[in-house]
Amino acid sequence: MHSDSKKAPWGLKTAAISGMLFLHIPIAFIFLYAFTTDQKSYQFPPPGLTLKWFEKTWDRPDVWRAMKLSVEVATLSTIMALILGTLAAMALSRTKFFGRDTFSMLLVLPIALPGIISGLALRSTFGTFEIPFSFWTIVVGHATFCVVVVYNNAVARLRRTSVNLIEASLDLGATSFQTFRYIVLPNLATALLAGGMLAFALSFDEVIVTTFTAGQQTTLPIWMYQELMRPRDRPVTNVVAMVIVLITTLPILGAYYLTRDTDSADGSSK
């Protein structure tokens, strides 16, 4: 193709690179402000740099409690999403049945609809059945929007797994269970790990649905949201913001490296 060998027009290149900078420079400010000595405002440039807020945050039991809850919620939601997403992917990847497209639409709905609608819908249902808000109501909400992430990864991988391999295994006398255990699962493993990591990141910093499905529980994003609405401790908020970026970035990078050779566009259909 011609345009591949040619250089990109400078205007296009500038626009593309500026767009990417627009996406990423703001994050740099989160890192910068975690070190500022300024406590009262958002002064730029920072009057001085210090490490003491890290120590102060480390000693905050409320931050630790919120962090622990977020990790627990994200872990459990990821496990639920892994089970439901894998089953859905296995059902939908090869067979065609009535309502198949509707079902795959239904899986995307929780992330395509604004979180406030899913959140309010779940809240009203918990209300109808008089289910008290708890750790479990948060997990139900999170698992619902995490399923699609696992599903996307798993279905992409299953479509690439050759049917011949499965047929060969069955022809050689393996049972369906052995075929699943020794052929399908090893093929699927990295896709599931990647999907699970994305689901973890998605759940870890979710705030909208959580607001509606949590009672008194405070996850880390909820803690941060409360600080943003009624600022009490700005330096600690800055440090927590930085920690959230780090904790959600690592699984996403991991997921990318696990799937880059096989599926080029995991989650691109999000």
Binding site: L12, A15, G19, P114
Partner: protein, 312 residues
């Protein structure tokens, strides 16, 4: 291997395996039932429950929900103040979608046509990271940037052109006391947050254009600009439409961004949030939350005509 044996030789497993093999429908059903129950009953059921709440009333004295059929909530939606909120939110979502498409297109086009190997991986990760992570933190970053004493103010100050910023802030409608308390601020942050959702579908759509089509175009004497206008752009439209479903829908329902960055003008999400929270009027909140669903449904119908679902 012992595990191979335990799943293979034992006749129970083998008989079960054969039994399942000749009944693919049963297997399908067994796979499908758990996710179907979850998504169909827990999630879809909740959405229908929300719909049911929208026709319930609220006892004005006790504040209790009255489970009797009433259309009062829907009549209330047509109050001028509510129509104003709906109208303003729809305009904002439209503007955000257009801005996202304008910024995303060059990124997606450059990614699809001029990058490979490591550069492509860098671009890809650069879009994936903000797409999946740290929604609230990224909003907070703009609180730092747009604050009066923040970096934007500092840049204008250092360049000695503070009057430009003041002139922008004194504009009616979009201005405010500082960028973080203005509608312009709300707009910038909404564009920033939802931009990644626009880039990937466009990139995927452009990538899918067969090379032979572009070669044919240039063989037939089209200049690169003509090829772009007549071939690439029309084929990228489904991608833009797919991305716009996300940017439009997610902007319509957002209540956190206008609450943190913006003046006190209300958007649909905030009204829903306040009605169910402080006011305790879940029926009215439910009715109001149907408005974005309805707008999105109309929008989906339009997007479908542009072929958005082929690019999802």
């Amino acid at each position: 291997m012992s595990t191979v044996n335990s799943l293979g030789k034992s006749s129970i497993w083998r008989r079960l395996s054969i039994w399942l093999f000749i009944r693919p429908r049963t297997v399908l059903l067994m796979l499908l039932i758990p996710p179907l129950l979850w998504m169909g009953i827990v999630y879809l059921g909740s959405l229908f429950n929300l719909l049911a709440y929208s026709v319930f009333g609220l006892d004005e004295f006790s504040g209790q929900i009255v489970k009797e059929l009433t259309f009062r909530n829907f009549i209330d939606l047509f109050r001028l103040s509510n129509l104003d909120v709906i109208f303003r939110t729809t305009i904002m979502a439209t503007l955000v979608t257009i801005a996202c498409a304008l910024i995303a297109f060059p990124i997606a086009y450059y990614m699809a046509k001029y990058t490979s190997g490591k550069t492509r991986a860098l671009f890809y990760l650069g879009v994936m990271l903000p797409l999946w992570s740290s929604y609230l933190v990224r909003v907070y970053a703009w609180k730092l940037i747009l604050a009066k004493e923040g970096v934007i103010g500092w840049i204008f100050h250092s360049l000695g052109i503070e009057f430009v910023l003041e002139a922008i802030l004194s504009l009616p409608l979009v201005g405010g006391s500082s960028l973080s308390f203005s509608r312009m601020g709300t707009f910038i942050v909404l564009v920033y947050i939802w931009l990644p959702f626009m880039i990937l579908p466009i990139q995927a759509a452009i990538e899918r254009i067969p090379k032979s089509l572009l070669e044919a175009s240039s063989d037939l004497g089209a200049k690169p600009k003509q090829t772009f206008r007549k071939i690439i752009f029309p084929l990228a439209i489904p991608g833009i439409a797919a991305g716009s479903i996300f940017t439009f829908s997610l902007t319509l329902g957002d209540y956190i961004i206008p609450g943190i960055i913006g003046n006190s003008t209300m958007y649909i999400g905030q009204v829903v949030y306040m009605q169910q929270g402080m006011a305790g009027n879940i029926p009215f909140a439910a009715a109001f939350s149907l408005v974005p669903i309805l707008i999105i449904a109309v929008y989906l119908a339009l997007a479908k005509r542009l072929g958005a679902f082929d690019a999802l």
